[in-house]
């Protein structure tokens, strides 16, 4: 046999990027399905549109950069980014939002920095923030959950709303019949109007459950996907645990100090994009810290930031901003937290 001389690591596992990406995409599908069940076909259409645009944009940039197109497209990272953008956008948002966002994510955030593995920021979250800053009204109007408002948009109706901006006949009353603020947003508005959290939670959008109609199921589905990723060792537990733990502790402290003005820890864990962030967004290995302790800290930082932005910030959900800010801190975390090399005693 041939002896190869190379530097460490000596034990390798041939896990192709493609296999990892496929597993993550697969794990996100239950969440997407639940989202479609509660909020109509919109999310599904957004995801398809985002994937088409992402592949087109990536191929165009790769051609400009003189790289191999087919091999790079095959790693499916663009599809994952598109999927995350698609599920993060409001289901009935007009088509140009997802097109602008996806092109921005792939061309500016990912490829201009050098492509997969080189980007400083999570492309999907950067795109989300771009859209949130550019189109605040459209981005904070979410489709009404099943059983509230008008009937859920069917496939064709959702297509019509997304592409023409005009409601199908069933929605002639205007977009307000099928869309409303998210539970997080409603709670925030109510609290600012002087209602207590308990009073706000009586509203129909929270649907008797303490976290909001539909949202708890969406989050549970993403949690299930996340557990699959952990079990298949596609992701490590550090980031997700750090994120959920920090969010839980922060909201517990807030809730204990002033239950009237703060949502409960459970509400924070199972509403908005918490689980999606914990298992699918923050765990992006490119933009996270690299050491284990570093990742724990990285996740905790995101958790604290999500809580701070949700509670004290101007936007209803803070996942995207929290992830981007933590992305900025990742090099600093890596600088200060270095795993001790075997046999090395450190500075003492």
């Amino acid at each position: 046999m041939a002896f190869r001389i190379s530097s460490s690591p000596h034990v390798r596992k041939d896990t192709a990027t493609q296999a990892v990406m496929q597993k993550v995409i697969l794990a996100a599908l239950p969440g997407l399905a639940v989202q479609c069940y509660f909020f109509g076909w919109g999310s599904f259409i957004q995801v398809l549109l985002a994937i088409a645009v992402a592949l087109g944009a990536e191929a165009a940039v790769l051609k400009l950069r003189g790289r191999t197109i087919k091999e790079t497209l095959n790693d499916q990272s663009a599809i994952l980014t598109a999927l995350l953008i698609g599920v993060a956008l409001p289901p009935l948002a007009p088509w140009y939002l997802v097109v602008i966002g996806t092109i921005f994510a792939i061309v500016i955030v990912k490829q201009l920095y050098g492509g997969l593995g080189q980007n400083l920021f999570n492309p999907a979250m950067a795109a989300y923030v771009l859209l949130l800053v550019s189109f605040p009204v459209l981005m904070t109007t979410w489709a009404a959950p099943l059983g509230l408002g008008a009937d859920n948009a069917g496939f064709v109706d959702a297509l019509k709303v997304i592409f023409s901006g005009v409601g199908a006949p069933a929605f002639a009353l205007g977009i307000d019949g099928v869309s409303m603020a998210t539970p997080l947003d409603t709670l925030k508005t109510d609290l600012s109007m002087g209602l207590t959290a308990t009073e706000s939670l009586q509203k129909p959008i929270f649907g008797g459950s303490s976290t909001g109609e539909g949202w708890v199921w969406v989050n549970l589905a993403y949690l299930a996907g996340g557990i699959y990723l952990l079990a298949s060792k596609t992701i490590r537990w550090h980031i997700s645990t750090g994120l959920l733990g920090a969010l839980f502790v922060c909201s517990l402290v807030g809730f204990a100090l002033s239950p009237d003005t703060h949502a409960s820890p459970l509400f924070n864990l199972f509403s908005g994009a918490t689980m999606l962030a914990a298992f699918f967004i923050a765990t992006d290995p490119v933009t996270a810290a690299t050491s284990r302790r570093g990742r724990l800290l990285f996740g905790a930082l995101i958790g604290v930031l999500i809580y701070v932005i949700r509670t004290f910030g101007g936007y209803p959900d803070g996942v995207a901003f929290a992830v981007l800010l933590a992305n900025l801190c990742a090099p600093l975390i890596d600088y200060y937290i270095k795993p001790r090399a075997y046999g090395h005693r450190g500075h003492s």
Partner: protein, 232 residues
């Protein structure tokens, strides 16, 4: 007159203050949300730049080296004040929309940079021409950036041109498409940074293409000596 041709080439393209020297980025990014604002600030900068270059070139032999920068700054400040008062008097709307960036022309590095690097070493006509060309180069970048951002952000061109040119210019406004939700990013400073980066990239691409088109210069005939017996 190849000297003047060279000055024009330097100012408009090769050494463009906006794209290559990256001077005056603050107003460049802050006021280019619409084409009108961009042109207004660009023209004001051109006026100040020509004036300051001429004056600096006139006094270049009388100013002691040690205090030249304060002198230049005072000359520029006087000119900026004059331009600001003129705009205040004749284009009040523009004056309001340019805001603080009008007096801030004083600190625009393009102006002090040209005064120091060019005007203080060259004759008056050359300095004046350099001021004009550098100013036009800067204005061109402002205008392209302003037009791009206005089209992306509002779908219009020359919105508010009447503030700059008088009420007849209202008819100049072109509405390219109707936007229900304006693309805010293009109007905000981050959009300006991104657009600026893309503009610089585009310039570099054009330069590369030009370079590639140019026939490679003949390698200079190397001096070959059969044998070197002695050095020096």
């Amino acid at each position: 007159m190849s000297n003047f041709k060279d000055i024009a080439w330097q100012g408009l393209w090769k050494n463009n203050p906006g794209l290559v020297q990256l001077l005056g980025l603050c107003p460049l990014l802050a006021v280019t949300a619409t084409l009108t604002n961009a042109l207004g600030l660009g023209l004001a900068t051109v006026a100040v730049l020509i004036g300051s270059n001429v004056l600096v070139s006139l006094v270049r032999d009388f100013v002691p080296k040690e205090i030249r920068i304060p002198v230049f700054v005072m000359i520029i400040a006087a000119l900026v004040t004059a331009v600001q008062l003129l705009i205040n008097a004749y284009a009040y709307g523009l004056y309001l929309s340019l805001g603080i960036f009008l007096p801030l022309i004083v600190t625009n590095c393009v102006i002090i940079g040209r005064a120091e690097a060019f005007a203080s070493r060259n004759s008056v006509p050359a300095a004046a021409f350099d001021g004009l060309m550098m100013g036009l180069g800067f204005t061109a970048v402002l205008a392209v950036l302003g037009a791009t951002r206005e089209i992306l952000g509002q779908g219009t061109l020359f919105d508010g041109a009447d503030q700059l040119l008088g009420s007849w210019a209202q008819s100049l406004k072109i509405e390219l498409w109707q936007v229900d939700n304006s693309f805010l990013l293009a109007m905000l400073p981050p959009g300006a940074f991104i657009a600026m980066g893309l503009l610089i990239a585009a310039k570099n691409v054009i330069d590369k293409r030009l370079e590639a088109k140019k026939p490679a210069p003949e390698p200079a005939a190397a001096i070959t000596r059969a044998r070197i017996t002695k050095v020096g």
